[in-house]
């Protein structure tokens, strides 16, 4: 069995398409909480995910990955943009149709939410400390009226087993677990309703490499089995390369590059991507890093630089970069990049 055929067979039509997504948080000052400016946490994000596919999402800490994910399921109301999602929950006979999630009523959105699950970044705060593990995993089923006595209990035990926990953990409370164990509880909970899209916000950062490997394998198995799609936010670029079909790179609220995983790692076309790839730590104590040290300060999303947001830190910047924001364009088939000099630069991959 060749892995490419299964991969191609696995990936279907577009499931999610985000266009021009923006989320600005007001900055308030003084007694009257006057708005003095905005944090442009997400500032024009466009991306798509096909069904059965994994889109890796990487970028600087604070560049808006979590905010963008939260906007997609409307945990935050976006400031602008569109989020098209193929849902079965809104038609009586379950036929799929593409809808803009931002136009749905509250009640409709709640129905669609069972198809989109989220695994959170901070395992301790996303689990209710007063609920047992069994209740935590059952909760989504209960909320959506899908809890069936007996059957659901078996499913919970199966889910728990699949994420590497034991049935005797069911009656325990979150604080009795280590960080990694809590994250696995969150994953079991996310999978409880058989979603079609899972937004994974750093799902394996807290896990040790062995459990991480198990979890990545598990996520891949579940993907094959249920044709799941993932948006996979992570900082570990080796993990992202391993799990993703395509990868999008964000910098200060914008997607600056998006391409197939292999292509992006071998032939990065955005200088920020190049700098990131050069900084990946290697599990080898004798390895001497030759990372590109970015000059200047991390950009401030409430007051981004002119032109290309990356220009104060970019070693390839020219005058044009200060004046004009580069357009996010497809420079090669399925390779998108926002850089004026994308074609001429020869950047270093891995």
């Amino acid at each position: 069995m060749s892995s490419t055929t299964t991969k191609n067979g696995r990936i279907g039509d577009i499931l999610l398409e985000v266009k021009g997504l923006k989320k600005y948080f007001p900055i308030q000052r003084g007694l009257l909480r006057r708005t003095v400016g905005y944090v442009k946490a997400v500032d024009d994000v466009s991306l798509y995910v096909r069904s059965g596919e994994t889109l890796g999402l990487v970028g600087e800490s604070g560049c808006g990955k979590t905010t963008a994910s939260r906007c997609i399921i409307r945990l935050y109301e976006p400031t602008a943009g569109q989020v098209f999602f193929k849902t079965r929950a809104l038609s009586p006979d379950g036929t799929p149709k593409m809808v803009n999630l931002l136009e749905l009523s509250r009640e409709e959105m709640n129905r669609v939410r069972q198809e989109i699950a989220m695994i959170f970044q901070d395992p301790i705060n996303s689990l209710n400390p007063r609920m047992t593990v069994a209740d935590i995993i059952a909760e989504p089923m209960v909320i959506h009226g899908k809890y069936v006595k007996g059957e659901s209990e078996e499913r919970i035990i199966e889910l728990l087993r699949r994420v590497g926990l034991r049935p005797d953990h069911l009656r325990r409370y979150p604080h009795e677990f280590s960080g990694g164990q809590r994250q696995r509880i969150g994953i079991a909970r996310a999978l409880a309703l058989n979603p079609s899209l899972v937004l994974c916000d750093e799902p394996v950062s807290a896990l040790d490499v062995s459990i991480q490997a198990q979890t990545l394998n598990l996520l891949q198995d579940l993907q094959e089995e249920f044709k799941l799609s993932y948006i996979f936010v992570a900082h570990d670029l080796s993990v992202v390369q391993h799990i993703s079909d395509r990868v999008a790179v964000m910098y200060v609220g914008k997607v600056v590059e998006m391409a197939g995983a292999e292509e992006l790692y071998n032939n990065p076309m955005h200088p920020y991507t190049e700098a990131l790839l050069s900084a990946v730590p290697k599990p080898d104590p004798l390895y001497k890093s030759d990372r590109i040290i970015m000059q200047g300060d991390v950009a401030d999303p409430s007051n981004p630089p002119s032109g290309c947001y990356f220009h104060p830190r970019c070693q390839y910047a020219v005058d044009l970069c200060k004046q004009k924001a580069p357009e996010f364009r497809e420079v090669k088939p399925d390779h998108w990049v926002a850089c004026h000099r994308a074609e001429e630069l020869k950047l270093r991959g891995i």
Binding site: S178, A206, L237, S238, A275, P281
Partner: protein, 376 residues
């Protein structure tokens, strides 16, 4: 208030480049829960010298964070230290003339966990970056308030005076002022890569991204210039470029202040570049200890070997599944007989590994392992 600490005072004679800072001896920590007793840390022994970075790795739930918290006497209920000693070789942070070499040995396990001594040590002398930044920041305080608190509590500024030989000598110390504390806070936020630190100093935790919260925690911990930093998964929420910047910052401080670091992480790439030595833990015990190069190039314990194989590595995409360690972490209330790793061990020898408890055995210079394969 009486403290039951054994405080042995003595002055170190030889000026070793790396005097001892912390010695953990046969440490045991237990949690009594409904089903029984969980031995979260079960006979752990290691030491850390000044200026050294000790890496701790191991399976999720093997007791890394509990060990770290034991050192600061911050074990959550119902956890208890039930055995062993944690010796802290304390030197005066602000030595008076002639007292620079004074060393006081404190057994931390004997201290009152709410007492004056441990509160001085905590934060000021041994600082900790916690694994979950959100739960250790107070939601109603801004980033700046958190740092100010640490700084005004623990940091003193030297008052320099010209001494006899016309050299500047530190004679006295004073507490930092509010303004100075704020300036330090902003400077620390800048050094950990927070954009617009003059503004962000007034942000509340919920207004910060996951990685920014983690960096605030790091800034708090480093702002007091501690003698030892315990970093529990300090960079998991950071992108690789800021991660590299923060690791550089830690190394810098280590060089300038001779800070010791206990670095807990799952990221073998990070540990490879940071640690001098590594302790590998499994189910509350150390199973291997070696210099970093030996551990990566010549691992001995089957668990360490398996761990090194499960790391995804950058390179041509193979589409293959990752190697992972078979089976599950055992039930701590129902531990396997013999070697606790035996149900999952690829090198398992029936009739031996399930019967005999392996001993801590030396296999090379500074290289120790707990596995029957290496016992005579």
């Amino acid at each position: 208030m009486t403290t039951t600490a054994t405080q042995v005072e003595h002055t170190q004679t030889q000026t070793d480049a790396r005097p001892l800072l912390l010695e953990v001896q046969d440490l045991k920590v237990e949690f009594t829960i409904r089903g029984g007793v969980v031995k979260a840390v079960d006979g752990l022994t290691f030491d850390i010298k000044r200026g050294q970075t000790m890496g701790i790795i191991g399976e999720s739930g093997c007791g890394k964070s509990v060990t770290a918290r034991a050192i600061l006497r911050m074990i959550p209920k119902p956890g208890k230290i039930t055995g062993g000693r944690i010796l802290y070789y304390r030197r005066p942070r602000h030595p008076k003339p002639g007292e620079e070499d004074k060393v006081e040995v404190i057994d931390v396990t004997k201290l009152d966990p709410d007492g004056e001594v441990i509160r001085q040590i905590r934060g000021g002398e041994i600082a900790m970056i916690f694994q979950e930044p959100m739960s250790s920041l107070t939601p109603v305080y801004t980033a700046g308030t958190h740092i100010n608190e640490a700084v005004t509590l623990h940091r003193l500024l030297p008052i320099k005076k010209l001494g006899d030989q016309m050299v500047e000598r530190i004679m006295e110390y004073r507490r930092v002022t509010k303004e100075e504390a704020r300036a330090i806070a902003i400077e620390m936020l800048r050094r950990v890569g927070i954009p617009k630190p003059e503004q962000r100093v007034d942000s509340y935790p919920h207004q910060l991204s996951g990685g920014q919260r983690q960096r605030v925690m790091i800034a708090i911990a480093l702002s007091t210039e501690p003698a030892m930093l315990i970093a529990d998964e300090p960079t998991t929420a950071l992108d690789v470029s800021i991660e590299a910047q923060i690791l550089d910052l830690m190394r810098d401080l280590q060089r300038t202040t001779n800070m010791a670091i206990m670095f807990i992480t799952h990221n073998l790439g990070v540990i490879a570049s940071m640690a001098d030595e590594i302790v590998v833990m499994y189910m509350g015990k150390q199973v291997e200890r070696a210099k970093v190069v030996d551990l990566f190039y010549n691992p001995k314990h089957p668990y360490t070997k398996a761990l090194l194989q499960s790391v995804p590595r950058l390179g041509p995409k193979t589409g293959q599944r990752l190697a992972s360690i078979e089976g599950m972490v055992p039930d701590p209330l129902n531990l396997p007989t013999g070697c606790v790793f035996h149900p999952r061990c690829p090198a398992f020898v029936a009739g031996k590994c399930d019967k005999i408890v392996p001993k801590w055995t030396q296999v090379g210079e500074n290289h120790w392992v707990r596995c029957l394969l290496y016992e005579e």
